[in-house]
Amino acid sequence: MPEEPTQRVAVLVMGCPKVPVQTSLVLYLSNRMKKAGIRTIIAGTPSARQLIRVADPDGHYTMEMKDLDATIAALAKGDLTVTDSYVFVHNDAGVSYAATMQSLTNRPVTAIIFGEEAEQIAQEITFPCTVIAEPATHNPMSLKNKLEEAAPWDA
């Protein structure tokens, strides 16, 4: 059994970075989590991580970044324990990753769903998961506002 974490550890799971709002929202959420003293891990593909790294070269808004596959492997092996997960979803694969995080962590998972098909994709969430969805592609404000309403950094 993985050890119970002594502090809150949040993982932000990035999907394919082709929809612009994702990188902006990940930086925003990471910054709020970091300011709240939560250990925050961003997991993503190499391209998704490079977008974050270039936008925040000195790590003002981010803490740790990990490879997505390596993060899944560490969770499956019990080498990493997280208290809550935030999965950025804009396609079918994102739903699969959200379900995987729910199954592997057995902890609260929030799916942040964006892109033109957000509503349709939200219907595919049939497992325990909080859904925050808006059909945003270029303008992150509607989702930023919904994140502020949810305020997971205060939980």
Binding site: I72, N91, D92, A93, A99
Partner: protein
């Protein structure tokens, strides 16, 4: 971390949804449901439960999901070790 490129694999279907993968694999007589994160061939399987994998002779067929490209159905032949492990799960 797993690397599919190191396997002698064949892509049966590409860029499909997890539901399509599940439906396709349901037609095989010998099939198993595994939990998300189940490790085979040094890969962790990603998906919405139940994740179906199928045995076809000495080949194993399973879904493989990538964030940007959706789900692929992969067939790996000469998979007897993984098939034995799959059958022996309690």
């Amino acid at each position: 971390m797993g690397c599919l490129e190191s396997l002698p694999y064949e892509v049966l279907m590409s860029k499909i949804s997890f539901k399509e993968a599940r439906e396709f694999l349901s037609r095989y007589p010998e099939k198993y449901d595994v939990a998300p994160g189940y490790r085979m061939f040094d890969l962790n399987i990603i998906g919405v439960p139940p994740i179906r994998v199928a045995v076809d002779g000495d080949a194993l067929i399973f879904p493989y999901t990538k964030p940007c490209h959706g789900t692929f159905l992969i067939r790996v032949q000469n998979a007897t070790d993984e098939i034995t492990r799959l059958r022996g799960r309690t």
